[in-house]
Amino acid sequence: MQVTITVNGVEHSRDIEPRMLLVHFIRDELLLRGTHWGCDTSNCGACTLWVDNEPVKSCTMLAVMADGKAIRTVEGLANGAELDPIQKGFMECHGLQCGFCTPGMMMTCRALLDGNPHPTEAEIREGISGNICRCTGYKNIVAAVQWAAENPATSEVTA
C-alpha cells in the first residue's frame, strides 16, 4: 500500500505492507532510530511518538493508519542545536540512565506539559505511568518535568 506520512516536517512516501507497524516504519523504513521498541503488548511506551500532536504508542498502530498524518519523533524535539526544555530537564535532573526509555518518555512528558504547563507531582506521575523505565525509579524523571515546567525556554545546559 502507498502511504504518505509527514515526519518531523518532512514528507515521506513509501509502498508498504498493510501489516507493518508504525514503529517499524519509523525505524526500519525511515531509519529514525530514536523511537524504540520494548515490548509486544503496548505496555512499555518506549515507542511513544506523536501522531497529529497526540502521543501514541507506535507499536499499537499500523503504519497505514498514519497515512496523511503528521508525526513527531524524538529527533524532532530539539530546535536545531537548541535542545527542547524537556531534553534539558532530563539532563539537568539525571532523568535518564541507559537512555532506552528516554525518547518515548520525553515525547509523553512534552505532550503532558503542552496540555498542562504546571502539572503537580501527582499529575506528572499519572501522566508518565504508561511509560516504563527500568533504570531511574522515576524520581528524577518527575524532577525533569518540573524543571522543564519552570524553564520553558531557557538557559544553556553544559555537557
Binding site: 530514536g34 520494548g38 515490548c39 535542545l83 535518564l96 540512565q97 532506552f100 520525553m106 525509579g137 553544559t158
Partner: protein, 797 residues
C-alpha cells in the same frame, strides 16, 4: 587533596575530580542518537527469528523445514541437526554445564530454541516460523523444585552420560557443629520457610546481536548486547574454535542490563552461524516474550532460615537450608569456586559467632539463569533471608525491630571483620548509618502514628532492612569465570595537547561510565573531565577484563583507572623534572601540575608535560617518550558497601492493597565519584525492590507453562507504585581501594525488598501473620490475612 574534598571547577564548570556533573553521554540519548544493537544496520544485512518450544519437556520426533525454506525471502533455516554437523549444537555455560543452542534430542523448557530462520526481513522470518513443522512427543515436566529429586521424577538432563536424577550440586559454608551447638543452647529459636521467587531483570532493551563474518578476511564482527564483551570474545573462541584475534565484539549502547546480558544466548550463536552460512551480516533481536521466557531469570531460592538468640535479643547463630532451582541448564554466571554465588554472606551486618548454610541445586523444566537482576551474585537472596528472619525474631521477642538490629550490628572497631562464613568486611560504621536513616524517617514518630492508627483499625507498617554487600569480584586467586581471572585492565593515553583517552574493559548499561571514569582520571591528573574521552565496549580497542556485573566496575576498573592515572602522573614527574632541570624528588604535585618545592612559580602543567613528552626534550635515561600507561588491577579483596533502608506502607486489609507511602534509603558506598549518578543508581534499585516485593514473579503452571511471559503478566513498577525516594548518605571509604570507593550499582536492589516486605508484614501482624512470600500482590496479602497463603511461584486454582 583527599577524595572527599570539594573539587575545583574546570572552565566548563565541571568538577576537576569528584562531584556532581552532567553526564557526557546524555546528549546523544536525548536526541535519539544512541546506538543500540537493533540500531545497527550493515549493508546487505539479513534478519532472523527463532522457533521456540511450546512444551516444557518433550522429545523431538521430527522437524520439517521444507515449507519454510520455500517461502520467498527465506535464506536459510538452521536446526539443531545443522549445528550438530558443525559441533555447535551444544555450548558451555558459564558454570561448566552445557546448554543446547538449538534442541536436538529434547526440549527442556517452554520457549527453548528449536530452529533459526534467516530471511530478508523480520516479518518474513516470523512468517517462516509458522511453516516449520515440528513433531513433539510430550513428556511429564518437573516444575516444582521440591519434587525434582523425588524418586521417579522425569530425568531432564539425560543428555549427560550416566545422569539418573535432577541433582546439580550440594554446597555448604560455615561451621555446622558450632552452629548446631549454638542453637541447642539458645533461649529462642525462630524458623521460617522463605521463598525468593523467580523474577526477571527485563531491561527495556531486549537481547540481540548483529553478526558479520567477513568471508574474505575471516574476521567476525559481533555487535551484541553484552555486559562482558571480552569474556564473550574468549568464550566464542573456545566454543566455536574461531581464532580469538579474528573476533571483534562490539557492545554499543546497552539499554539496561541488570545481569540479563551476562550469559551467552543461543540467539547470539545462531546469528554467527547464520552469517557464516549466508555470507551476509545477520541481525537477531528477540521480542519481549522471548526475553522473559528464555533469557537469564533471577533468584528462585527456596530457603529454610533459622535464627537463635538469647531472650534479651542477642543473636547467637543463623542457619539456612536452600533448595535452588536452576532451570534446565546450569547457566548461572558467577565465580567458579562459588556455585551459590556469594550467598554465604547471609550472616549480614550483625555480630555473632556461628553460621552455616547448605545449598542444594536442582534442574527443573524452566529457563536457565539464576544470577541476574542486580543480585551481586546472590547477595539479594542472602540479605532477604537474614533481614526477614531478624524481623521474625523481633516479632517472637516482642521487641522493636530497630532496637533488635541496633543491639546486634557490628561495631566500627570490629573492622576489618571476618564473618563466620569467611568474608572479610573492609570498613563500616553501621550504627551511624542506621541512626541517619531513623532520623530522616522520624522513626519514633512513625511508631507512635502506627499505634494510633492501629487503635482505629488502620494498618500501617514500618519495615527496616540493614544490608551489607561484598562487591567487586574479585581477587583472581579465588575468583574466575571459566578460568578467566577477574582482574581488569585500563589504558590511558594523554595526547600531546593534554587531552586524554581512557580505555576500559567494563561496559556501561546506563551507569554513566563515560562520565565517572573521566572524573577518576581528572581527579588523578587534574585534566578537566570534558577533555577526557572514555572508550569502552569494543574488544579491538580496549584492554581485556571481565566486564560489568556484580557492581564490579568501580571497585575493579575504577581502581585500575585511578592507578593508571597515578602511573602517568609518576611519569609526568620525571618529564617535568627534565624540563625544569631539577631532580624529580624536588617536585611536588598539585592538581594538574608538578612544581618545584619551595618555588611554586616554577612548574609544568600536565598539558605542558604532555607536549614535552611527545616533543624534542631530552628525556632521562630509561624514560620513554609519550605519556601513556597501562594497568591491570587485581583487587586484594571485595569492597563492602552497606546501608539502612526504611519503608512505610499502608495496607487495606479488605483488598490486600499495599501503598508504599515513604521509602528512606541511606547508603554508604565509600567515596562517591559523582553523587548524582550514585543517587540515580539507588533510585533505580529501589524501584526494582518495589517490583520484586509487590508485583513481579515468573510463575509456572503444572505443565511448565510460563505465566509471566509478557508485560501484561509480568508486572513492572511504574511511576504510580514508586514513592518519592528519600535518600541520605554516610561515607566510610574502603581502606584498600585506591580512591576509597565501593560498588553501589546493585545496593538498592539487594537491600530494598526486605524493607518493603518487613513493612507489609509489620502492617498485617495484628492478623497473626509473621511471614508471607513475595510478591505481595493484593491477592497474596489478602490470602495471608485470611491465614490461607499459597505458593506464589505456582499457578493458583
Amino acid at each position: 587533596m583527599t577524595a572527599l574534598d570539594e573539587a575545583p571547577l574546570s572552565a566548563a564548570g565541571n568538577p576537576i575530580g569528584f562531584g556532581r556533573m552532567h553526564r557526557k553521554e546524555d546528549v546523544r540519548f536525548l536526541r535519539g542518537e544512541g546506538n543500540y544493537v537493533d540500531d545497527v544496520n550493515l549493508p546487505g544485512m539479513l534478519h532472523s527469528a527463532i522457533l521456540r518450544s511450546p512444551y516444557a519437556h518433550a522429545r523431538i520426533v521430527s522437524i520439517d523445514t521444507s515449507a519454510a525454506l520455500a517461502l520467498p525471502g527465506v535464506h536459510a533455516v538452521i536446526t539443531g541437526e545443522t549445528l550438530a554437523g558443525l559441533g555447535l549444537a551444544w555450548m558451555p555455560t558459564l558454570s561448566y554445564d552445557t546448554q543446547a543452542v538449538l534442541a536436538t534430542d529434547k526440549v527442556r523448557f517452554q520457549g527453548q530454541e528449536v530452529a533459526f530462520v534467516i530471511a530478508d526481513s523480520r516479518y518474513i522470518a516470523k512468517d517462516a516460523l509458522e511453516l516449520i513443522d515440528v513433531e513433539y512427543d510430550a513428556l511429564p515436566a518437573v516444575v516444582d523444585a521440591k519434587k525434582a529429586l523425588d524418586p521417579g521424577a522425569p530425568i531432564i538432563r539425560d543428555d549427560k552420560e550416566g545422569k539418573t536424577d535432577n541433582h546439580i550440586y550440594d554446597w555448604e559454608a560455615g561451621n555446622k557443629a558450632d552452629t548446631d551447638a549454638a542453637f541447642a543452647a539458645a533461649d529462642v529459636v525462630v524458623t521460617e520457610d522463605i521463598l525468593y521467587p523467580r523474577v526477571h531483570p527485563s531491561p527495556m532493551e531486549t537481547c540481540g546481536s548483529v553478526a558479520h563474518m567477513d568471508p574474505v578476511t575471516g574476521k567476525l564482527v559481533l555487535y551484541t548486547t553484552t555486559q562482558a564483551p571480552h569474556a564473550h570474545r574468549t568464550v566464542y573462541a573456545l566454543v566455536a574454535g574461531l581464532p580469538e584475534h579474528k573476533i571483534q565484539v562490539i557492545s554499543p549502547d546497552i539499554g539496561g542490563g541488570f545481569g540479563n546480558k551476562v550469559p551467552i544466548y543461543p540467539g547470539y550463536v545462531c546469528s554467527i552461524v547464520g552469517s557464516i552460512v549466508t555470507g551476509k551480516p545477520v541481525k537477531w533481536v528477540e521480542d519481549r516474550a522471548e526475553n522473559l521466557m528464555s533469557t537469564g531469570f533471577a533468584r528462585d531460592y527456596h530457603m529454610n532460615v533459622s535464627i537463635a538468640s538469647t531472650k534479651e535479643g542477642k543473636i547467637l547463630a543463623v542457619k539456612v537450608d536452600v533448595l535452588a532451582d536452576h532451570g534446565a541448564f546450569n547457566g548461572v554466571a558467577q565465580p567458579t569456586n562459588y556455585p551459590a554465588g556469594f550467598f554465604h554472606i547471609f550472616t549480614g551486618s550483625y555480630d555473632y559467632p556461628a553460621a552455616y548454610c547448605n545449598v542444594k541445586a536442582v534442574y527443573t523444566n524452566k529457563a536457565p539463569g539464576g544470577v541476574a537482576y542486580a543480585c551481586s551474585f546472590r547477595i539479594t537472596e542472602a540479605v532477604y533471608a537474614i533481614e526477614r528472619i531478624v524481623d521474625c525474631l523481633a516479632a517472637e521477642l516482642k521487641m522493636d525491630s530497630a532496637e533488635l538490629r541496633l543491639k546486634n550490628l557490628l561495631r566500627p572497631e570490629q573492622f576489618p571483620y571476618t564473618s563466620p562464613t569467611g568474608w572479610e568486611y573492609d570498613s563500616g560504621d553501621y550504627e551511624k548509618t542506621m541512626r541517619v536513616a531513623m532520623d530522616i524517617a522520624g522513626y519514633d514518630e512513625l511508631r507512635r502514628e502506627q499505634a494510633e492508627k492501629r487503635a482505629k483499625g488502620e494498618y500501617m507498617g514500618i519495615g527496616i532492612s540493614f544490608f551489607t554487600e561484598g562487591v567487586g569480584a574479585g581477587p583472581r586467586k579465588h575468583m574466575d569465570i571459566l578460568g578467566l581471572g577477574m582482574a581488569d585492565g585500563c589504558d590511558l593515553r594523554v595526547h600531546p595537547t593534554g587531552k586524554a583517552q581512557v580505555r576500559l574493559s567494563v561496559q556501561s548499561q546506563g551507569q554513566g561510565h563515560e562520565t565517572t571514569f573521566a572524573q577518576i582520571i581528572s581527579h588523578e591528573l587534574g585534566i578537566p573531565p570534558e577533555d577526557i574521552e572514555v572508550i569502552h565496549g569494543d574488544t579491538d580497542n580496549t584492554p581485556f577484563g571481565l566486564g560489568t556485573y556484580g557492581s564490579r566496575s568501580t571497585p575493579v576498573s575504577g581502581a585500575a583507572a585511578a592507578l593508571v592515572g597515578r602511573k602517568v602522573r609518576d611519569k609526568a614527574r620525571l618529564i617535568a623534572a627534565a624540563a625544569l632541570e631539577c631532580s624529580p624528588d624536588d617536585l611536588e604535585w598539585e592538581l594538574g601540575r608538578w612544581f618545584v618545592k619551595g618555588d611554586p612559580t616554577r612548574g609544568k602543567t600536565i598539558q605542558e608535560i604532555a607536549f614535552a613528552a611527545h616533543g624534542s626534550l631530552e628525556l632521562p635515561e630509561g624514560v620513554e617518550g609519550h605519556l601513556d600507561a597501562q594497568v591491570v588491577y587485581n583487587p586484594p579483596n571485595l569492597t563492602y558497601p552497606y546501608g539502612c533502608y526504611i519503608c512505610v506502607v499502608d495496607v487495606d486489609p479488605g483488598t490486600g492493597q499495599v501503598k508504599v507511602r515513604r521509602f528512606i534509603a541511606v547508603d554508604d558506598c565509600g567515596t562517591r565519584i559523582n553523587p548524582m549518578i550514585v543517587e540515580g543508581q539507588v533510585h533505580g534499585g529501589l524501584a526494582d525492590g518495589i517490583g520484586m516485593a509487590l508485583m513481579e514473579v515468573i510463575a509456572f503452571d503444572e505443565d511448565g507453562n510460563n505465566l509471566g511471559g509478557s508485560f501484561m503478566d509480568y508486572l513492572l513498577p511504574t511511576s504510580m507504585e514508586c514513592p518519592d525516594w528519600e535518600l541520605g548518605e554516610t561515607v566510610t571509604p574502603s581502606p584498600h581501594h585506591p580512591i576509597g570507593a565501593k560498588g553501589v550499582g546493585e545496593s538498592a536492589t539487594v537491600g530494598s525488598p526486605a524493607a518493603i516486605v518487613n513493612a507489609v508484614i509489620d502492617a498485617i501482624s495484628p492478623f497473626g501473620v509473621r511471614h508471607a512470600d513475595m510478591p505481595l500482590t493484593p491477592a497474596n496479602v489478602w490470602r495471608a490475612i485470611q491465614g490461607r497463603p499459597v505458593r506464589t511461584d505456582m499457578a493458583v486454582e
